[in-house]
């Protein structure tokens, strides 16, 4: 794994993608269309589902459809974090943590 890949996965992608999707799309949709979840364990809000699907669709650029669809789950978690905290940084940190876990899983598989 190159230094560039680590930089992209753990810093650049979380920062840019969370800024666009959580700070931009999610915030805009909440302002115009819906209500946020009120508890951590509440069912994801309609806005959260919508943004998670958009987020997964954007990943179709690079991932095959099945894996892009799988992105919906962490996206819902990130959306829930955003709705409960209203802050970007916890989402960026959580996104980086997801990527770190993914990297760990990939590294543990035989080549």
């Amino acid at each position: 794994m190159s230094a560039v890949a680590l930089f992209v996965l753990l810093l650049l992608a979380p920062l840019l993608e969370e800024t666009v999707f959580r700070r931009g799309v999610h915030a805009w949709a909440l302002r115009h269309r819906g209500t946020a979840a009120r508890r951590w364990w509440a069912w994801p809000s309609r806005v959260n589902w919508l943004v998670a699907l958009l987020f997964a669709a954007a990943h179709l650029l690079r991932l095959p459809p099945v894996l892009a669809l799988a992105v919906v789950v962490p996206a819902l978690v990130l959306g829930q974090v955003y709705e409960m905290t209203g802050r970007l940084w916890p989402c960026v940190a959580a996104h980086a943590a997801f990527n770190l876990v993914w990297l760990g899983l990939n590294a543990s598989q035989p080549a």
């Binding site: 890949a5 650049l12 997801f98």
Partner: protein, 375 residues
């Protein structure tokens, strides 16, 4: 969800199925697809601009569309930067491309029985009447049995072909094909080199393109057609340089350089010729090519360039490595295609490339969001 929305689902599903069926019902001509990969009507940037001259390397996951015209159609309709192609590629051309990519996927597979490299040949913009550079293409039998070959054929006009390929290629043996472009008349030309076909394997296809121009053009040439690295011990490394010279009557802008071939693993290059470099007539740049074998065996690859002028002919790289005891084990296998469908985690852009359009778009969107939020 609104109950009315549920009533629309059957119509939506039928619509999707109809589009998918339309995508797969086209007659497929893989040899024409090889030409679409390199050259599109109206001189709009073709697939090679983003996916590179070697589709076996699966850059930007292009092999996902192998034999999947519906996937390719959906990509054209949903990936913004590819949207312009929708006007240049009709459904038949999309089917052709998907069929061509299916042939590429066969060669790109780690257990492929045959290797053909480079995967495409681009002569670039040649002035009318100019001498054409020579582009070499290599065919190697990677299997354990002799490979029956039919005579190679050029489907299309504007190029000449010569070769030293026998009727039967022994296991591990290679043969070479040489291509030149005709520069008698101005205009774009494309052809497909078809190699085949015994009963055991489908013909291999290689797209060839050139654009003969009547205006001044830049011309790039390399100072050697072959870089020979000799025999090294595994673990050692050796660097040789190759000089690109601008010979034409106009400046030439360098495009990407690509290493191709099943033995490209131990080679890498670096130097003062990055894409975007503008070489005025008479000026040069030097590229350092390093051979660093990790295991014993022989390695052969080619280096090819793109530019807005006459592209230099392919340069062949050749090296051999021995173990410390002097025993030469079989050649190392080709590196697997870099599809990495799930590898690299959750990123929209490629994790191993900083300079990618998706990162730039995300950065622009993120800046727009920050400006919006500050208001």
């Amino acid at each position: 969800m609104n109950p009315r929305s549920w009533q629309r689902w059957p119509r939506f599903v039928i619509g999707v199925l109809a589009v998918s069926a339309a995508g797969t019902a086209q007659a497929q001509d893989a040899s024409r697809g090889a030409q679409w990969y390199l050259q599109l009507p109206g001189e709009v940037p073709s697939c090679v601009s983003c996916h590179g001259p070697d589709p076996t390397q699966n850059r930007n996951n292009i092999l996902r569309a192998a034999n999947q015209p519906a996937t390719l159609l959906r990509t054209l309709n949903t990936v913004g930067v590819m949207g312009y192609l929708r006007d240049s590629l009709n459904d038949a051309a999309i089917a052709d491309l998907a069929a061509y990519l299916a042939r590429v996927a066969v060669v790109a597979a780690p257990d492929a029985a045959v290797a053909l490299w480079p995967s495409t040949v681009e002569f670039g913009s040649l002035p009318v009447g100019a001498a054409s550079p020579l582009h070499s293409v290599w065919l190697r039998n990677l299997g354990g049995a002799a490979l029956d070959l039919a005579r190679p054929q050029l489907l299309g006009s504007g190029f000449t072909l010569s070769d030293d390929c026998p009727a039967s290629l022994a296991p591990g043996a290679s043969c070479r094909l040489a291509l030149r472009a005709s520069t008698a008349a101005a205009g774009p030309s494309a052809a497909t080199l078809q190699l085949g076909a015994s009963a055991a394997w489908s013909p291999l296809l290689l797209g060839v393109s050139a654009s003969v121009v009547s205006t001044a053009a830049g011309q790039l040439s390399a100072n050697a057609a072959q870089l020979e690295f000799g025999t090294l011990e595994a673990g050692a490394r050796l660097t040789r340089s190759i000089t690109l010279t601008s010979h034409g009557t106009a400046p030439v802008t360098l495009g990407v350089a690509t290493l191709t071939g099943p033995g490209r693993g131990p080679f890498q290059f670096d130097g003062a010729c990055p894409p975007g470099t503008v070489l005025a007539p008479g000026s040069q740049c030097v590229l350092q090519v390093t051979y660093a074998p990790a295991v014993a065996g022989s390695a052969q690859a080619t280096l090819q360039w793109r530019s807005d002028g006459v592209n230099p002919g392919t340069v062949t790289l050749d090296g051999r490595a021995t173990a410390a005891a002097g025993v030469v084990p079989p050649p190392s296998p080709a590196p697997p295609p870099s599809a990495s469908p799930g590898g690299g985690g959750c990123t929209i852009g490629p994790p191993d490339q900083l300079a990618d359009v998706s990162h730039a778009v995300l950065l622009a969107l993120a800046l727009a969001v920050m400006v919006w939020r500050r208001r």
